[in-house]
Symmetry: C2
Subunit: 324 residues, 2 copies
């Protein structure tokens, strides 16, 4: 197998939608950023055996990597446009795996209107390492940040929370008592997140702060609190759960904390003033995507969970830190 010819064959077609990719034949891509817009850029690295398993379907590995990055762009209010990949592949390179990986990239290029504009590939004796850099655009001065929350802001989340961690557990063989459809739903949510690429840009002008829920609801809300210099109270029973997650929690109430701490949801968490309530409900309806208020930002810098009976406790602290 001439692996370099394989790579050229698989990846060059992914660059055809952007003339500035120069067919991936040049030293770099040359891209326009429209006047009045800012470039938004983020990068992620995932490793075989750490972030995914060697026998995970390669198209899903590619799509999850793409989607994790698009989720970061969405959290800034940016629209995704381009991406680059850096691949350190386990030697000998598996051609079927690489074909599956490229197939996954192609599927998400179509789903999200993005184009590959560059990359680098090498092989080595060790686990495959996949790096992706995503580029997007946001109107100048309109980007959403973690640090913009204000005292009294409502805290909102999109979609449902906890499906990521429950899906991972289901894939590892736990939650065997669940309805098989629910287990499959959770596994799918873990393996193929839905980054809120439409929601993020629509939050510009409504939200004061935003972040994507990738490290876990508590950790990510904690990032918003820390960068905004505020605290938060979250009403635990208002955190929106899928039917599958509700079934899991009703069978094992200890999963409630796992849901609040687990990662990989790729929903957006954002804060907004109460005067945005109506616009946010209209947006939820327009996007056919649940947007749920779960608490409020507070001047007291603690991150507090409030139970249905009114009792409050500090949110559990969790290690973990992905960006730097």
């Amino acid at each position: 197998v001439d692996e370099f010819a394989t790579i050229a064959r698989l990846f060059e077609p992914l660059a055809r939608g952007e003339p500035g990719a120069l067919g991936l034949t040049d030293d770099a891509a040359v891209l326009a950023v429209a006047s009045g817009r800012r470039l938004v850029v983020t990068t992620d690295v995932i490793v075989e055996g750490v972030h995914y398993l060697a026998d995970d379907p390669a198209p899903l590995v590619a799509r999850k990597l793409v989607r994790a990055n698009l989720s970061d762009l969405a959290a800034m209010g940016a629209r995704p446009r381009h991406y680059l990949v850096g691949l350190a592949l386990r030697s000998p390179v598996s051609e079927p795996w690489l074909e599956g990986f490229a197939e996954g990239l192609a599927a998400d290029q179509a789903a999200y209107g993005i184009v590959l504009v560059g990359g680098d590939t090498t092989a080595h004796d060790g686990p495959t390492v996949l790096a992706l850099t995503a580029l997007g655009e946001v109107e100048e001065g309109r980007e959403l940040r973690r640090g913009g929350a204000r005292d009294g802001d409502r805290i909102w989340v999109s979609g449902t929370i906890g499906d990521g961690i429950l899906g991972l557990r289901a894939l590892r063989g736990a939650l065997g008592h669940l309805d098989p459809d629910h287990r499959a739903y959770l596994a799918d949510r873990y393996r193929l997140p839905r980054p809120r690429v439409e929601l993020g840009p629509r939050l510009v002008g409504l939200a004061h702060a935003a972040i994507d829920v990738s490290d876990g609801l508590i950790a990510d809300l904690g990032h918003v609190c820390a960068t905004s210099g505020l605290g938060a109270v979250v009403a635990v029973d208002r955190v929106p759960l899928s039917a599958a997650a509700r079934e899991a929690v009703s069978a094992d109430s200890s999963l409630r904390d796992a849901i609040l701490s687990g990662g990989d949801d790729y929903e957006l968490l954002f804060t907004a003033p109460r005067k945005a309530d109506e616009a946010l409900r209209a947006l939820s309806s327009a996007l056919d995507l649940p947007l749920t208020p779960i608490g409020a930002m507070t001047r007291d810098p603690a991150l507090v969970l409030e139970e249905p009976d009114g009792t409050r406790r500090p949110a559990p602290r969790r290690g973990g830190w992905t960006h730097f």
Copy 2:
């Protein structure tokens, strides 16, 4: 060791020169691209044990990674501005190594006026993999490309050719007969390339095509030929050599082909019409950097080497392919 605290401590200071990096605390960086300019973006991946050795000094590993990417930007005529890193570090993470790596990044930030704007870090049981994405700017419509060469253009190279491959061989214990200063010179050239970041942007308007010599003179000129739909004749004795390379070749003439095929020089190869001769000589003088004509582009698509006695032979073909 709290490795994540270490990473935050080491990398956050590198982002201080760019407000749009948001202190590396947000989901993505938000960067301005000036009106009338284009974003130029490239990425490279290097692996411990493949592209560098575990006991290579970490600052040099960092600087070579930075410089290889800056060389790609220079080849497009772009000025470097920002970069992101994705690190999959061998577990357990060596804090001294990471400190050295950050120190190398800091040194080259100062040398080239670039700023870190994002990154991601993870640890795993396997060789360290380092990905870097570099962002630069070029005036709209003024970027240099590989495919712009014209029949009859002179072929020029900056600096000297072959020091990269000879330096690698010296580091591996070969070339023991050389003057120790020459061996040290070659080793340094291999370990710490000098990307031609000042030259690249100054070639805009003078050169028809450009590439950096990273895969080797013949391979990279071959890329220019292939994308331009032309061939080339190179006068072998005009290829500029350092004093150290001349000493090596005079002791072992078989090294001449290694010099033409070896990589890691990070010089620029470019083609220009003869009417640019005078401007290029003035530029060489202004930058205090040798610029040497070594041949000409031809309508005949072959890549031909011409010996001093006038005999011609096809350039040896070599495997290898880094970008896709």
